[in-house]
């Protein structure tokens, strides 16, 4: 029985990584036939979703097993395992990828973007890296796929080839590689040196191995080294990456890349440090303050952004800080809130970015000040925007309300009333920078320049309606995710 499960587990994990890779290779080979590569792109996403569902179906027995590929360095293997956080991340990423494929095809065609084969190919490779991160069983595997994710998304960010795109991509790559080699790699090597292990283990591996001061430094190295979690001051890559076409911004920088970052933070908090160690030694304090500061400052900066995607980018920085904050507060409630927020924010943010792309496609407008009255011309887009915005703000009956609840509750149970208040202040700021777009869209009169605009093409609008609907549906179904996450072995 157990060996049957482990066989199919092995198969499924390898399939998760191989399916997008093979998709990328096939797209490369068929690069001349546009219709075919679009079909390949969607079918790859569909297959990956199928594989992820079959992993979920394997049930909770699989949680104790590690699948070892081979030893890469000495005795350290490339190894994979399944645990609740990983499945959550994998489901979010692969589910939303399917929706994004349709959106991407519609968007790229409507905006007459070029180099489609390279775009779809790198997208698939990025998703393969995402799956590798989701299922990694030790820090070495995590680091490998983390770097592969950075490298595979670089061509996507610089896709347009304009000077702006090149500069933005340069900042993107510069910050991510500098933090990963300069901080994360050192943290991993230090962990190896002081504990002799890199495996993700229940209860963590650093207990009693380092004095508190050094442990605090190690934790900080991890937090800043995972540049994809966009903790200030290493957050600048996110707004810079907005030069990418919107499907990239939507999936990768609302879902896959940034969630990879916070997922790594969550995993390291739970399985390398362990929440008990963090609470008893208090080494998480500096990062708690850094995350809180990021949360508030990023919201304040978002207020000042006139460019819609830039505003959403800073909003993402702020929301990621929520997840990091929930993780490093290190109580079971806050980690629950953090994990739920990973899912609900992903669905909400991707909708917002989809809307931004739809607005650009339909009217070529990118500035918030130019969107007055557009809601009457593009009702579906703006309705979806409103739903997603309310979800992110955290009001029922939308999914984000649950995660916000658990996050605030987590802060209170951790005796950090100030953090709870900070969450609430940030929520108010969310309202201030997200709602006016919807309000002005519906209630103001459209500007003369918007005269010829109509709703965006079906392939662009349908996905955002689906994800907006998900924000609503998840409010009711989040209970299943909650029950699933209760299986998270925190100690």
């Amino acid at each position: 029985m157990i060996s049957e499960i482990s066989q199919s587990l092995q198969l499924n994990i390898y399939a998760s990584i191989l399916v997008p890779t093979i998709g990328a290779i096939l797209i490369f080979l068929c690069s001349r036939f546009r219709g075919l590569i679009e079909l390949l792109f969607v079918s790859t996403a569909l297959c990956l979703l199928g594989v992820t569902v079959s992993i979920v179906n394997l049930g909770a027995d699989i949680f104790q097993q590690t699948v070892v590929l081979f030893n890469l360095i000495g005795t350290i293997p490339i190894a994979f395992h399944i645990e609740p956080l990983g499945i959550l991340y994998a489901c979010v990423a692969s589910g939303l990828w399917l929706v994004t494929t349709i959106y991407a095809i519609g968007y790229m065609n409507a905006n007459k973007e070029k180099h489609l084969a390279r775009f779809y190919m790198c997208f698939c490779l990025a998703m393969a890296a995402v799956m590798g991160i989701a299922y990694s069983a030790n820090l070495l595997t995590l680091f490998i796929f983390y770097e592969l994710l950075t490298l595979s998304t670089y061509p996507l960010v610089s896709h347009k080839g304009t000077d702006d795109a090149k500069n933005g991509a340069r900042v993107y790559l510069g910050i991510l590689i500098s933090t990963s080699i300069g901080f994360l790699l050192i943290a991993i090597l230090w962990t190896w040196h002081s504990t002799g292990s890199l495996d993700f283990t229940v209860g963590g591996i650093v207990e009693n191995k380092l004095p508190n001061g050094l442990l605090m430094l190690l934790f900080a190295l991890y937090a800043f080294g995972i540049g994809k979690a966009a903790l200030m001051p290493f957050h600048r890559w996110l707004p810079s990456a907005m030069v990418a076409p919107t499907p990239v911004s939507a999936l990768l920088h609302a879902v896959a890349v940034v969630k990879a970052g916070v997922f790594c933070v969550l995993k390291i908090t739970v399985y390398i440090f362990g929440i008990d160690v963090l609470n008893s030694t208090g080494v998480n304090s500096p990062i708690i303050w850094v995350a809180t500061a990021t949360m508030l400052l990023a919201s304040l900066v978002a207020l000042q952004q006139n460019n819609l995607k830039a505003r959403l980018a800073y909003s993402t920085v702020s929301q990621l800080a929520y997840i990091v904050l929930g993780a490093v507060l290190a109580t079971s409630t806050s980690i629950m809130g953090s994990s739920l927020h990973l899912a609900t924010h992903a669905v909400g943010k991707i909708t917002l970015f989809f809307c931004a792309g739809a607005i650009y496609t339909a009217s070529k407008k990118t500035l918030v000040s130019e969107l007055h009255g557009l809601g009457r011309i593009m009702p579906f887009t703006f309705a979806a925007y409103t739903i997603a915005a309310i979800s992110i703000i955290g009001l029922p009956p939308l999914a984000g309300s649950w995660s916000k609840w658990f996050l605030v509750d987590g802060a209170i149970t951790a005796d950090r009333l100030i953090i709870a208040i900070a969450f609430l202040i940030s929520t108010i700021l969310n309202i201030v920078y997200l709602m006016p777009i919807a309000i002005n869209g519906f209630l103001r009169k459209p500007d003369k320049s918007l005269r010829g605009a109509k709703e965006a093409p079906f392939a662009v609008v349908m996905p955002l309606c689906v994800t907006a609907g998900l924000c609503l549906v998840l409010f009711f179904l989040l209970g299943y995710v909650y029950d699933f996450l209760l299986l998270l072995p925190l100690r």
Partner: protein
């Protein structure tokens, strides 16, 4: 019967082939002959490696004169390892050489070019294979003199000055090594390395031995291009013909590093070199300065071959840094990087050769737009560049890992941070080249350049795939490095 003569065959085959090569008529024959010889040499080195792993150290007496009076060839794990490395690089380089030589070197000199190349190969192999100190000097001079000639054959006029500068500095280095050998001979009465190892510590006048140590240090560091004796390297690599750059960048300094291992670990012994005479105190600061300065200088180079040359200086310093740690782990890291870097630099210079063959320029601005026109070449450069930076799944990552772990074992945090920061600097200069290739438009005359020829591409990708392969399955290099380190430290 022939089985027992492999050690000497390793050197004799290219040695005899060299003058034969100069007699060959001027069409493709010299190239074909040289390539075949290099492949035979490679086969011999593989046989030697297998024999060493199965039977332990190989020892061969020339002319059956017994050691220590006769010349003895002594091949242990590190020796066999480096022999395989040098001959494999030579084989791949020569395979790609025909087209490169035809485009860069005057027709009359072709046969002489291959002759000099084979002599250089002989010299390098001889340094590694021999167990006699004076024999080392002989082969060192053979390889050096032939490399001066090879570098001078570059079609840029600066090649002559580069070669001349290398000649002066290289001769000083070789002479210092000779003086060192002479001083030791004077005190111990033997030239055989194993014999020296025993007799050195029974010597009366320790001053001579200390002086010999000093001369060896300076001489070898000159050949190794360790700061501040590095000045000959950038010009020599930049202005030499492509084939020569590829070969020398991948092998010459590695053999010098082997000589360092041999002299300071085998002849003088670990305790004497590091505990008594504190070689580590010399190597460590120089290595640190070298890594930082070479990385910073590389960032501002306008010519890509010079950029890669400065990069080599930094990478060699990582290897000496590993030695300076004075631990077995450090030595292992040094040997692993010796192996990995040879393939990485070979691949990078081979990409430059491809680019030169079509875009006729190795200047940074001259490579604009190459990514579109020569996709395979530039893709190879990207992968090899990532290996140089040390991205996981490439061999460069494995080397960096072992080096930083070895540093952390000594609790030298500051050094680990320096190593990682200089890796970030290498990101900067590699990315400069990649940006030129992919994000600029091709200008002027060479905007209709085509992809490099299939032979060049295959050779380039062979080296690139080697870096990826050894990044994933590194059991052989690491295993051999561990064995070699243990043997050296005994």
């Amino acid at each position: 019967m022939i089985g027992s003569h492999y050690p000497i065959l390793q050197v004799v085959i290219p040695l005899i082939a060299a003058p034969l090569c100069s007699l060959l008529p001027k069409n493709k024959l010299p190239w074909l002959f040289a390539t075949l010889v290099s492949w035979i040499t490679f086969a011999v080195s593989i046989v030697l490696l297998v024999q060493v792993r199965n039977h332990g150290v190989l020892s061969y007496e020339l002319g059956s004169w017994p050691a220590p009076w006769g010349i003895q060839y002594y091949i242990d794990t590190i020796g066999a390892f480096v022999l395989v490395l040098v001959s494999s690089i030579a084989s791949i380089t020569l395979l790609a050489a025909r087209e490169l030589v035809e485009s860069e070197i005057a027709k009359e000199k072709h046969a002489l070019f291959y002759t000099a190349f084979l002599l250089c190969l002989t010299g390098l192999l001889g340094i590694v294979a021999t167990g006699d100190a004076f024999n080392v000097f002989v082969f060192l001079e053979i390889s050096s003199l032939s490399s001066y000639a090879l570098i001078a054959m570059g079609d840029n006029r600066k090649a002559l000055t580069a070669s001349y500068e290398y000649l002066i500095m290289g001769t000083i280095g070789a002479t210092f090594i000779l003086i060192g050998i002479g001083l030791l001979y004077m005190q111990t009465g033997t030239l055989n390395m194993l014999d020296l190892k025993q007799r050195i510590h029974e010597v009366d006048s320790f001053r001579s031995v200390h002086a010999a140590f000093a001369f060896f240090t300076v001489g070898i560091c000159l050949k190794l291009a360790l700061f501040p004796l590095h000045h000959w390297l950038p010009n020599a690599y930049a202005y030499a013909p492509s084939v020569v750059s590829i070969f020398l960048a991948a092998t010459a300094t590695k053999v010098a590093l082997y000589l360092l291992y041999r002299v300071f670990y085998t002849i003088f012994g670990f305790e004497f070199s590091f505990d008594t005479l504190h070689l580590g105190y010399i190597l460590l600061p120089l290595s640190i300065i070298a890594v930082i300065i070479s990385a910073l200088t590389a960032i501002f180079q306008p010519d890509v071959k010079r950029l890669l040359a400065y990069s080599s200086l930094g990478q060699i310093s990582y290897m000496t840094m590993g030695i300076a740690l004075e631990t077995k782990a450090g030595l292992i890291a040094s040997i692993i990087h010796l192996f990995n870097h040879a393939f990485i630099k070979g691949a990078l210079f081979m990409c430059m050769a491809c680019l030169l063959s079509r875009m006729h320029s190795t200047a940074l601005v001259g490579l604009a737009g190459a990514g579109r026109r020569m996709p395979w070449t530039c893709a190879a450069f990207v992968v090899a560049g990532l290996a140089l930076i040390g991205v996981p799944l490439t061999s460069g990552f494995i080397s960096k890992w072992y080096l930083v772990v070895a540093i952390l074992e000594k609790d030298w945090w500051w050094l680990a941070i320096i190593v990682l920061i200089t890796s970030l600097l290498s990101v900067v200069y590699i990315w400069r080249v990649i940006e030129q290739m992919y994000f600029r438009e091709a200008n002027g005359k060479y905007s209709n350049a085509k992809e490099a020829s299939p032979v060049l591409l295959v050779c380039t990708w062979l080296l690139v795939l080697a870096t990826i392969y050894f990044g994933i399955d590194n059991s052989y290099p690491v295993g051999m490095a561990v064995e070699a380190a243990e043997a050296l430290l005994k």
